[in-house]
Subunit: 286 residues, 2 copies
């Protein structure tokens, strides 16, 4: 049970966390903060948060847990404005998609990593990003990856774990580096492919026919290209090394496929597609 | 109204066509044929076809319309076994995803293009491919692209159009070349990206974590990697030129994205993602 929770950035992620904790009675008061007062007022109206403050320091004051749910590019600025407002008991966590980036931002902002800071990343989301899109089941049965650091306290880690378990999420722990590698593969690379494909096709001469002739497979494949551009710019910059490495790996694989098509090598193509189908069919992600 | 219809290859595509025409009372008798007797017996059991013949020539005998719904690689063989069995009135059409390939196969098999042949391609499908997956609404409000040739008769074109309109599909006409270019962009390239990604990730060292940490976006993005490997091998070989050209175009675009990430060029990334989101949000494909 969290008596008072501060959510910095009340969009899809922060708002859904608030709704889930509230529904399960795992939280007392929820204070929101962000740069966008209209958004905060809407969040109060929707019953997502109880009240808001425009100053993150004031919002965090007297709270047990502060959750950073802003785009990666805003993490450092937000942390700077929290400096001096967190009591020694206040636990700090985040939902950022690139953990090394957040850890560095926190380190710079606070002049060292606070021992109550637990980097976290719920593997959930939709292509929508505003508080109107928030819903209490966003995290239900989804994984939340925590990447505790050497000086993270057991109390802080336990508190963040308990919060996420309160939403119905499955909590796991790994290292910052491993998280960033795996997310580059399963999330950041696919988003790059979808954005690149849709932008590339939109700039073709006959793009109207292209989109008119598109079917369900294309719709599903490109859904993630509707994601928030600023958020994804930040993720690219925040996980640059692992992401460019994965893009390089993908390019080599694509070159092999292309070479097989050019050579009319049906056996190689069938082998690749068969392995891919077997792997895809064995995911337990629905 | 088609008095007697022959469907060659009673899988998802052929089976769904049968179910739709039957439901709308646009067909009298439906005769199925394929190399797989078990599948044909199942299709009779499911009420998809009325009866079957293992010999395509016998199945086509006395029918008004013959629909080729086999993988591209089987088109020529099937057409060879139809030679001599089609009456001058029988209309021949197909559902293949690469039109130039089918036209060449028909040309070779019949020693010239029959004037009653209308190449067609319904832009519909799922990642499933067997008759059990067939459903009457597969084509409803989906586009069917017909690519009539110089010697195609108006009667044949009208008959095929009427058949597809009977399923609730929206029928359009274009050239073989334009069809193959556009499909390379919207269907064949995305399938290559999905197959390549899933196979590449499955061969990574820590692929269990990779798939375990995958979320809804990845699930949608990779759904098409569950498609039938043989069908897709055939499509790659059947639309080789247009597809390798599109892969080359995509690679250049991906290189630009990668260069921007490496250079930390947030503005270029944001521009690309913003254009992609705007294009994706404006599709009217749901």
């Amino acid at each position: 049970m969290i008596d008072r929770l501060c959510i910095v950035g009340v969009g899809l992620m922060g708002g859904s966390l608030a709704l889930a904790l509230r529904r399960e009675h795992h939280v007392g008061e929820i204070v929101g903060t962000s740069r966008d007062e209209e958004n905060l007022a809407r969040a109060v109206e929707l019953g997502v948060i109880d009240r808001y403050e425009l100053d993150p320091g004031k919002a965090a004051d007297g709270t047990d847990m502060v959750v950073l749910a802003v785009p990666l590019g805003a993490m450092e600025t937000v942390c700077c404005s929290l400096r001096g407002s967190l009591s020694p008991e206040t636990i700090l966590t985040d939902v950022g998609s690139a953990k090394a980036w957040v850890v560095e931002a926190v380190d710079r902002a606070f002049g060292g990593i606070p021992e109550n800071f637990v980097p976290g990343h719920p593997i959930a989301g939709t292509e929508k990003s505003r508080v109107e899109a928030a819903f209490a089941d966003l995290y239900y049965r989804h994984r939340v990856i925590l990447t505790p650091l050497e000086n993270t306290t057991v109390r802080a880690l336990g508190g963040v774990r308990e919060m996420w378990e309160g939403t119905g999420a499955i909590v796991e722990e790994t290292t910052v580096e491993h998280h960033d590698e795996v997310l580059a593969a399963t999330s950041h690379l696919p988003h790059m492919l979808a954005f690149t494909l849709v932008d590339g096709l939109a700039r073709l001469g006959d793009h109207e026919d292209v989109f008119r002739y598109a079917a369900g497979g294309f719709r599903d494949f490109t859904r993630i290209a509707s994601s928030d551009p600023v958020m994804w710019r930040d993720i690219c910059l925040g996980n640059r090394k692992a992401l460019t490495r994965m893009i390089g790996y993908f390019r080599e694989e694509l070159d092999r496929v292309n070479a097989a098509i050019e050579a009319g090598d049906g056996q190689t193509l069938k082998d690749i597609f068969t392995r891919a189908k077997a792997a895809r069919d064995s995911f337990h992600i629905g």
